[in-house]
Symmetry: C2
Amino acid sequence: MSKPRKRKPRGAYRHGDLRNALLAEALRLIQERGQVDFNLRELAKLAGVTHTAAYRHFRSKRELLAEIALAGYQRLLFLFQEAAFRAKESGTDPVLEQGKVYVRFAVENPGRFRAMVDPGLHPFIDFPDLYATAKATFASLVATIKEGIAAGRYRMASATRLALSAWASVHGLSHLILEQLVVDSMDPTPLDLEATLDFVGDFVARGFAREAR
Amino acid sequence: MSKPRKRKPRGAYRHGDLRNALLAEALRLIQERGQVDFNLRELAKLAGVTHTAAYRHFRSKRELLAEIALAGYQRLLFLFQEAAFRAKESGTDPVLEQGKVYVRFAVENPGRFRAMVDPGLHPFIDFPDLYATAKATFASLVATIKEGIAAGRYRMASATRLALSAWASVHGLSHLILEQLVVDSMDPTPLDLEATLDFVGDFVARGFAREAR
DNA sequence: TTTTAATGTTACCATCGTAAACATGGAAGC
DNA sequence: GCTTCCATGTTTACGATGGTAACATTAAAA
């Protein structure tokens, strides 16, 4: 039953797709641990490769992290567009939908979210793609708001500033929850996420409202 | 002219106050660089001491950082109380004053602010003092809001939730600005901080308002 | 004056990112 | 079909950095 073609017992010299394997392992570790905490050596070991092999595919660890962040923003952008669509279908408020999507994304993917917004790896200057995608995500929110203003759903004001305000709210909330900065001193429960989302959502809605409610 | 008592040319064996010297140098570096970026060795060198001497005063680098963060929260708490007082004097809105104080603090002390909210060093569990002070700062905001509600200045709602909403807004804004996450894609100017503060302040005020404006 | 405990120093170690030089083997050209 | 070459891995080594352990020194207590 032995085929003549001798096959290396395991792990061909050429991995085949080491680049993606490394990215996948990194993301897995980050998600598992909820933090951006791994080193290239363990990453390489998981991929069945020597640790320096990574440098054939990434200039540095930061670059690898930047790619993960990039994928994260792409995912978030997709979720945003999905939310906008869903809102259109169901008649709910698109900005609120997008806001909730943002916070849920952060809470459900703490590691990934941290990789996206962590100070450490974010000289956006060094990673223009990453920066562009982050901007696109923000632009998506701005677009949604512009439509809303045009449709008379929101008050007349700079869409960009409104977007910044809304983004700040959900981003801040996400960050506070993830880093457990203050939330703990709150209500009895360990934090009812959906209830909080509803309250903050209403809070933000007031900032968008045309007039008295 | 030589006194019999031989004095070490410089740097007595006992530093005298190495602990505070290290803290001061660390804070200085952090403020100078705008990031939590220094290592114990350079710190020790600046203090004129071997690097391992630091371990007589701090269990670890994290503990040193935690102390810096603690001092930061104490400072912020003071600024909060000052803002509340100022608001009472001048008749302006205390929550807005505190909110602006928060953002200005972050923008003017990026390094320090990062040290306070950076994921890396924040297992609050390990630093109960730090946690307590952070909570006290939050509590200060809650107290201000409770007064406001009682005085009929704000709408009736959970003060804690309102506080969380407001905190999330200013915290998010601070973080976005510091990390340059989205703000750049905004207006022409490199970001007029005070104008932005006014807008976001108004945005938040709407979330607090009793009714139509 | 003696003892002692606090505070520094000297040697090390382990981890980790990274660079340089070498190795291998699949595909591209002859 | 053979040779060449380049992409991809490997080996080896280095430097930076946080940290530990054992020893040294001196101010202050006994």
